[in-house]
């Protein structure tokens, strides 16, 4: 519904965005693909020729590959479970009448605005330090031996830090979704004799279904590429090397670009598998 003039103007005005994003997507992608088929060691001889699928095979067969996949899945899975479950409970609580609701909301959301390096550092030192951390104080107060969090329970510690960062996101989105629930629907179900548990199970949870899916998908995409939290806390030691971190090490630390690029291609494929589902939901939403 527009004229020739406005349509050509529209094309012109969309061009910068489209060209920039196309370049941003294609140039590095093609370069990554290119390197992934090469033996390329910038500090040790540079470009050593084509090697076919060698890098892909080596990346998958290296002893650190499967552990890194397991670590990644563990972190993503645990964080998702924790944030979604606690998020639903918190959202339902925050939806109840209370005094100072706005302030509580702000308190709960705050961690989301803390930059990842800060939260990793604060948790690592001030909370998880085995001698001076708050948790150590707490353990000693109860007469227990302080835990060396980041070396003895490294994965759990990282899950805790990351969950703390992402709980606000889940809570906020689920709270928005709960608030859009028609209260008459709940009242009707109450009239129909449904108790609290049944109301939660048959009305609230299905209503939240879409929001939960979105939380899961978006968080998955971000969680698959968490970096700073590991970089700052353990630098990949003590079994906390995720796929992202492994690739980072291959590329920048050991400067094996070919191998790292092959890993990068795996990461891209993995992210896209998740993205397809997310796009489908978002796309459906565009039609309405």
């Amino acid at each position: 519904m527009a004229t020739h003039h406005s349509r050509s103007a529209a094309r012109l005005m969309m061009a910068p965005t489209v060209i920039l994003l196309l370049g941003w997507m294609l140039v590095p992608l093609i370069m990554t693909l290119y390197f992934s088929f090469k033996k390329y060691l910038p500090l040790r001889g540079g470009d050593l020729g084509w090697v076919g699928f060698d890098n892909y095979v080596r990346f998958v067969t290296s002893s650190s590959f499967w552990p890194s996949v397991a670590t990644t899945l563990f972190i993503v899975g645990c964080v998702l479970a924790i944030t979604v479950i606690l998020g639903i409970l918190l959202a339902m609580l925050l939806d109840q009448p209370m005094w100072g609701q706005g302030i509580v909301r702000i308190l709960v959301i705050a961690p989301f605005f803390v930059m990842p390096t800060v939260s990793a550092l604060v948790w690592k030192n001030m909370f998880m330090d085995p001698t001076n951390g708050i948790l150590a104080h707490l353990w000693r107060f109860f007469g227990a031996e302080p835990v060396e969090w980041l070396s003895q329970a490294s994965l759990q510690s990282i899950v805790m830090i990351v969950s703390w960062q992402w709980l606000p996101f889940a809570t906020l989105i689920l709270l928005t979704a709960i608030q859009s629930l028609d209260s008459e629907q709940l009242e009707a179900s109450e009239m129909d004799g449904a108790n609290h548990l049944k109301r939660f199970w048959y009305i609230i949870l299905p209503h939240l279904g879409r929001a939960i899916t979105i939380v899961v998908l978006i968080q998955t995409i971000f969680l698959l590429s968490i970096f700073a939290e590991i970089f700052v806390t353990t630098a990949g030691a003590f079994g906390t090397k995720t796929l992202t971190y492994l690739i980072f090490q291959r590329v920048l630390e050991s400067q094996n670009v070919g191998l790292g690029s092959a890993g990068g291609v795996y990461a891209i494929i993995l992210a896209n598998l998740v993205a397809i589902f997310l796009m489908r939901i978002v796309g459906k939403n565009l039609d309405t």
Partner: protein
């Protein structure tokens, strides 16, 4: 000068042709109303003239100059939208001055013209308010003010009164008519309301499915509708149509007679029937009469105090001078 000529103008959206090629002439100073049921293409036709949509084929000329490819800003037309489309972030003054600002007029000149328009439209006290603080009628007047300050070649109105309540609508109808008399500028007005069309227009264009059914003055359309569609669309309540034996008596497939052209009697007449629902308007009463032998009920206008009721026997006599005859295709027979 505000002469607008459409030559073989057509419009398609994708594969759907909403307006087959049509010709139309709008003369300088004329008040032309496009009327038709919703979805008949009247708004699209107006948007084609405005330049908000491209024609698929054909030519639009304004004052003899080809304007087919011109963007809306360059056509010298002003438009009043159904939703008024006021700029919510600007005061009334700035809203009205906007076209002048776009035209690059100096500030003093702008102010002078805005004040003038405000005086004409009774908006002087509201100049510093935002559109959100105005009533529907006032917003409507701001929209009109915004269109008149620029002294356009012609005004385009897209169902401007449909968001107002009935009382206001009557008032605004008069105001727009008065404005036209004073400015003597061409106005093209789109509405689905045949009463607006009848009361305001110099020339009515009746549209159905993108096709012009008839063009003429209100009285022409009333007296000599060229087909059944126009006959039933113009006039309120609607014209009665009778087919079959009764029509055959007049050598027609269908005959049409308006409710106001039927004589009513409780004693004798051409058609006998029983009164169904009646609508009392005070001055007039409309009876829906089930006439013996007719498939559909006949609506008639009677005096306000005739004193007949539901179920009473009634006799109707159509005035033959006002009888309309149509053939099997619905076209008028002279």
């Amino acid at each position: 000068m505000g002469q607008i000529n459409l030559k073989k103008v057509s419009k398609s959206f994708g594969n759907v042709e909403v307006i087959p090629p049509l010709d139309l002439e709008i003369n300088d100073g004329e008040f032309v109303v496009f009327v038709g049921p919703s979805g008949c293409g009247k708004s699209t036709l107006l948007r084609l003239i405005a330049g908000l949509e491209d024609v698929t084929s054909g030519e639009i000329a304004i004052d003899g100059q080809d304007a087919t490819g011109l963007p809306p800003a360059k056509r010298g037309l002003a438009m009043v939208f159904q939703s008024y489309a006021l700029y919510p972030h600007m005061s009334v003054r700035k809203n009205i001055a906007f076209p002048l600002k776009m035209a690059g007029l100096p500030v003093e000149e702008r102010n002078r013209r805005v004040e003038e328009a405000a005086k004409v439209l009774n908006l002087t006290d509201y100049l510093d308010r935002r559109p959100g603080q105005l009533s529907g009628g006032q917003r409507q007047r701001v929209a009109i003010g915004r269109s008149i300050v620029r002294e356009p070649e012609a005004f385009l109105f897209d169902e401007p009164l449909s968001n107002l309540d009935a009382a206001l609508r009557m008032g605004m109808r008069l105001e727009i008519s008065e404005l036209h008399k004073r400015l003597e500028t061409t106005m093209v007005y789109v509405t689905h309301d045949q009463i607006e069309a009848m009361t305001m227009a110099d020339k009515i264009v009746v549209l159905q499915a993108g096709v012009i059914e008839q063009v003429g003055s209100p009285l022409e359309l009333y007296k000599r509708p060229c087909n059944k569609f126009v006959a039933s669309f113009i006039g309120s309540p609607k014209m009665n149509f009778v087919e079959g034996e009764e029509a055959a008596k007049h050598d027609a497939h269908t005959i049409g007679i308006r409710p106001e052209h039927i004589a009513v009697s409780s004693e004798e007449g051409l058609w006998a029937g029983k009164i169904g629902v009646s609508e009392h308007l005070g001055s007039d009463t409309f009876f829906h009469v089930a006439v013996e032998g007719f498939a559909e009920s006949i609506t008639v206008r009677a005096d306000g105090e005739i004193g007949l009721e539901y179920g009473d026997q009634i006799y109707l006599t159509p005035k033959l001078d006002n009888l309309h005859k149509f053939d099997a295709d619905g076209l008028r027979i002279e």
